[in-house]
């Protein structure tokens, strides 16, 4: 008897393998269209993580990238990058924190910016997990320009 009723009303449309086919196709096609198969996407993720980590501390394990198709020619990339709370930020390099703790040391905390080497590079070195990723200077600096900063 229940067979009668289920044949009458049918199974809900979302239950069969067609739904899975559609989802899988959407996923595969977005990657196909922008030439970002899984391997390339992994490599891109690694590089992105490295760059972002230079500026802010992020939880690399929860770093997610998704590709979305809105139309044939409208595909977007969404990245979710959770910040890690406090971890990885060296309090001695954090001026805001320094100011909060010790307002009178304002000049002291600002003066270390003028020591360009210490501020610019060491933070990057502590954050980069992949030792083969290079930290390069911007290439548009003219090496003969006396105003450009060299390493």
């Amino acid at each position: 008897m229940s067979g009668f009723w289920s044949r009458l009303f049918g199974r809900p449309a979302g239950h069969g393998t067609a739904k899975s086919a559609k989802e899988r196709l959407k996923f595969v096609l977005v990657h196909d269209r922008i030439n970002l198969p899984a391997e390339r996407m992994q490599a891109m993720k690694q590089e992105l993580m490295a760059v972002i980590s230079k500026y802010v501390a992020v939880t690399t394990e929860e770093f997610e990238i998704q590709l979305e198709q809105r139309d044939r020619n409208q595909n977007v990339m969404r990245a979710e990058i959770p910040f890690s709370t406090g971890v990885g930020i060296d309090p001695q390099k954090d001026e805001a924190l320094e100011e909060l703790r010790n307002p009178s040391a304002l000049t002291g905390s600002l003066s270390h910016i003028l020591d360009d080497d210490e501020f610019d590079d060491s933070l990057a070195e502590t954050q980069l997990s992949d030792p083969t990723t290079e930290v390069t200077q911007p290439t548009d600096l003219n090496p003969d320009d006396p105003d450009s900063k060299n390493d």
Binding site: R11, P12, A18, L25, D71
Partner: protein, 265 residues
């Protein structure tokens, strides 16, 4: 006015390009259009066999291109439909025997004399496809409601757009309505959603198609064939008519379900 040049392609092999080309050609001729169909699948010709014209081949497209015959000599006239012609592919050469500019030159000579020129593209994305695409005014992409076919269709659509021949229209072939209702087959809505392209025809899976090609009589000539009816509708749409899609795959209403309970099969 000149002919409208339509290339029928797919990417994936075996989805029904040749059957579709033959049947649309026949259906257009049935509504009194002057049609020539060209088999661009050099080395693997099949349009001749599907149309029942295989034993009338004397010259083929490569003979024309290489100057061994005049254009008219390679054109096979259909016996039942006098305004329908076939230019067969060569069977012993390959796709490099002809170039995109050869195709353009050939089609330009035919243009003044016909209403429609249909080009049956080979599968793939290489030279054969590019040959077939070169003269197109419009492209029809044949696909099946199945993952590999849809994926390949997407790729071919991208190539068509890149060649500025886009956007193209879809023909969804070999549709099984009962599987769609059970959620086990992609629907036409699913496919248009995924590919972002309009559909010009939905052709149901039809047992009559194989016997038709067995006898060399395309299903469009069979008034009892649902696939034939679908191809005839596509022809009329290409001719500018507004034909609603056959009620194949809309979600079943209550009454339809009720009546199908009392039918067998």
């Amino acid at each position: 006015m000149g002919a409208k040049i339509i290339t029928i392609t797919s990417g994936k092999g075996g989805v029904g390009k040749t059957t579709t080309t033959a049947n649309i050609g026949v259906a257009l001729a049935q509504i009194n259009k002057r049609v020539v169909v060209i088999d661009a699948d050099i080395g693997l010709r099949n349009l001749d066999v599907v149309m029942g014209l295989e034993n009338r081949i004397v010259y083929d497209i490569v003979d024309i291109v290489e100057g061994r015959c005049k254009l008219r000599q390679a054109m096979i006239k259909h016996k039942q439909l006098p305004d329908l012609y076939l230019i067969p592919a060569a069977q012993t050469r390959d796709k490099t025997a002809v170039s995109p500019s050869d195709m353009l030159a050939l089609v330009n000579k035919l243009r003044p004399e016909f209403d429609f020129i249909l080009i049956d593209s080979p599968a793939g994305i290489e030279r054969g496809f590019r040959n077939a695409l070169a003269p197109a005014d419009e492209v029809l992409i044949v696909t099946n409601p199945e993952v590999s076919a849809v994926r390949d269709a997407d790729r071919i659509i991208g190539l068509i757009e890149a060649a500025n021949k886009g956007p193209g229209k879809l023909i969804l072939n070999r549709v099984k309505i009962d599987m769609i209702r059970k959620g086990e087959m992609l629907s036409a809505t699913d496919v248009t959603d995924i590919l972002s392209l309009d559909i010009i025809g939905i052709v149901p899976e039809d047992e009559k198609v194989i016997p038709a090609s067995n006898s060399g009589i395309p299903v469009s000539m069979n008034s009892n064939s649902r696939a034939g009816a679908a191809f005839r509708n596509i022809a009329r749409r290409l001719n500018g008519e507004r034909i609603p899609f056959m009620r194949l795959e809309e979600p079943s209403g209550f009454l339809q379900k009720l009546t199908s309970l009392f039918k067998t099969g």
